[in-house]
Amino acid sequence: MSAPPFLVVEGLGVTLAAREVLREVSFALPRRGLVALVGPNGAGKTTLLRALARLLPPHAVHGTVTLDGVDVGTLSIRARALRFAYLPQGHTVSWPLPARDVVALGRTPHGATDPARLTAADAAAVDRAMAAADVESFADRRVTELSGGERSRVALARVLAVEAPVILADEPIASLDPRYQIEVMATLRRAADGGVLVVVVTHDLGLAARFADQVLVLDGGRLVAQGPSDVALTDAILADVFRITAFRAGHDGGVVLVPWSPQ
């Protein structure tokens, strides 16, 4: 990708409870595209997303993150919320709210406070997000009554409703069945094609290789590889970082990568 850099990370380090979780991470990402962030458990993937969205205590983070030339550290909490839409891991909803109200919470950074009284612009954004994530058919049902797959699509719609230039999604497909995994990745892919920078944390190297324009590989708090999947997920890196071999093929014009055996 030769587009000018949009999200630039330089010398990012995070120290939590006296432990260095991220060390000297630097990379640049373009304005649009789907980026998969992979790495073994404990590599620092979630911490990196939180650092990008400035959800960590400021004293724990050093280095700079700039978005479109603006230092993210200088932004107000609301200005930051308008730029980074964040989907946390697990994404539970504590009260049995209707799905539509949950999606409408995505308009909070735009000043929407009450899902029952949205402005026309906010309501239109909620409708677009619900259509994109295909949740319209159960908009009025309570989220606690939905299946896991339906709930994860509602959570995705909530993130899309922010209409931020950057989406950060932490394991959005964990614990979903294969069909929903593909649907969620395809929805994020469409958002990326529509002009959004999507960074998605996943353990599914196959879906990462298939859907992502770029893959970032983290290991032990360091960035060890970045690039299209044929550059970032080579046999050497899979052996080094994940200690596995992989089966590779092509299908339907796309890349097939299946983790095969431990090394």
């Binding site: 939180r50 909490i77 504590s94 709210l97 919470l105 909070t108």
Partner: protein
Amino acid sequence: MMLVVVAAGLAIISLGIGPVRLSPRAVVTALGGGGDAIAEVIVREIRLPRTILAVAIGAILGLSGAALQGLLRNPLASPDLFGAPQSAALGAVLVIALGAADVRSWALPAAAIAMAFVSVFALLAIAGRNASLLLLILAGLALSSLAGALTSLALNLSPNPFAALEISFWLLGSIEDRSFRHVVLALPFIIAGGAILLGRRHAFRVLSLGEEAAQSLGIDVARVRLSVIVGVALGVGGAVAVSGTIGFIGLVAPHLVRPLIGPDPARLLLPSALAGACLLLASDVAVRLIPAAEPLKVGVLTSIIGVPFFLYLIMRERRSLGGAAT
């Protein structure tokens, strides 16, 4: 809307009940300044402060319960279970035991508010972020036991029976024989605390997504926490300074209105306040109607009704309580 009517009706009944019974019509005319001169004195001078306090204290207790449930995303949260009223009572008791001030001075609400603040702050600090239900309730139990133990100590060491009597009053909780002086003492704090809690209502809705998601949507979660602690401390502290501990209204009120209003924690605040006002008005009417050798204290009645309700909630939430332990 319906709750407003119920609250108004209960308030008029509350004004009419007592050694001299007055019909609702007589109460309304007396309130307006007309009718029988004696009735006017009874209603406006003797019973109105009591009724105002019942409404205000019931409302702030219900509101505090709903706000804590919203903040902690947990239907078992309430000021009583977290030891806030008990600690506020301890503050008031200390002021009296040390002979620091007269029972009607500003020192009393100030001490009650300070202790309520310390207890809620300590609870949230001990339990930590994203605390499980089990952790919160254990920490609350420890704090309310500590406040109770220190109150007993003050009772134990109190130099004269009069002071001991004053102290025991804070443990029972009552709003009988209150004057406008008490209303003036409590109302500013209750209104300030209530306004702070209501001002945060939209944050509670966003918080149903969890603290991290709320933060990512531009909610300053640390500030919301602090303002809830301040709001609950002001409201509950101000209330306890004139009424003593009146338990379980904060826990029960949000549950009464949830089936009517729905689960949205922002929309629940005001109805919970109204339900709290209705509960305390009804309880205060009931203690005057129930024949007993000694006049019943309203705090005793709310606890007798509230604790079985709490047990019922524990049974309903059994699964999540067990799950919280893992």
